[in-house]
C-alpha cells in the first residue's frame, strides 16, 4: 500500500519547489527600491491610524466550534459510508441515528441563536 504514496511524495516535493522557483525568479527579476512611504500599511490611501488590532468577535469561534463538531462527525461517517453496500438495514439505521443526533444538535444551536452573525 505504501508504493501508492511514492508518487504523492514526489508530487509534494515538486509542488513545494514550483512556487519557490517562481518566487525566486521574481526575486531575481524585480527592482528593489525600498522607501518608507511605500512600506506604510495600506488603508485606502489614508494615513494608517488607530490600533492595529481588531476586536475579534466571539461569533467566529462559535462557527469554528460547530464546524469542528461536524468535521469529526464526517470523519466518523466515512468508514460507515464506505461499507454501506454490505451493511444490513439496522446498521444503516445506526448511521442515520448518528446523523439525526447531530442534526438535533444543529437545530438546538440554531434555536439558541448561535448561528446568527453578530
Amino acid at each position: 500500500m505504501l508504493e501508492q504514496f511514492i508518487f504523492v511524495g514526489v508530487l509534494l516535493v515538486v509542488a513545494l519547489f514550483l512556487p519557490v522557483v517562481l518566487i525566486g525568479l521574481a526575486w531575481l527579476l524585480r527592482p528593489k527600491r525600498p522607501n518608507p512611504r511605500k512600506s506604510e500599511i495600506y488603508e485606502c490611501g489614508l494615513q494608517p491610524h488607530g490600533e492595529n488590532w481588531v476586536q475579534f468577535k466571539a461569533q467566529y469561534y462559535i462557527f469554528a466550534l460547530v464546524f469542528l463538531i461536524f468535521d469529526v462527525e464526517a470523519v466518523f461517517l466515512f468508514p460507515w459510508a464506505l461499507v454501506y453496500n454490505w451493511l444490513p438495514l439496522y446498521a444503516v439505521l445506526e448511521g442515520v441515528l448518528f446523523i439525526a443526533l447531530l442534526a438535533a444538535a444543529l437545530v438546538y444551536a440554531w434555536q439558541k441563536g448561535a448561528l446568527e452573525w453578530m
Partner: protein, 165 residues
Amino acid sequence: MTVQQVLFFLFGAIALGAAIGMVTARKVFHAALWMLLAFFGVAGLYVLLEAPFFAAAQLFVYMGAIGVLIIYAIMLTRGMMRQRLPRVNDQWWFAGLLAAALLVVLAWLVWQHPWATTTAAAPADSLNRLGLTLVDPEGFALPFEVASVLLVMALIGAVTIVRER
C-alpha cells in the same frame, strides 16, 4: 537503512522539531504555526504506518479544524497576539529535572516492552473492516453512538458557554 527508516526519521524529526519550536516560540501565534507543522509530521508517520485514512483524518480534523480553532482562541484573548512572552520562567531547572526523569522512565518502558511487531503488510481493505466493525453490535456500535452523544454534548456546552456574554 531502508527508505522507510529514512522517512521515519525525517517525519519524526519534523514532528519533534516542530514541537520544540512550539514550546520555545516567543509569540503565541508562532507557537500555533509550529503546532500545525507538528501535526503534519504526525500525519506523515501515520502514512508510514500504512494507515492513510488516519493520516488524511489527521490533516482534516487537526490541521483543518483544530488548528483554526486554536488560532481563533488565541485571537480571542485580548493582547495575546502582541506580547512577546519570555521563553523560560524561574523554575525552569526543576521542570527540566522532571522532564528528564520522565524521559528516562518512558525510554526504559518503551525499550523493554515486548512490542508485537509484524512484517506483514496491512490488509488492503483495512478501512472496510474498520467500517464493518464500527457498526457491528458486537463490535463498536455502542461507542459509535456514544461518540455522537459526546459531540452533541460538546456542541451544547459550547453554545451555552459562548452565549454568556
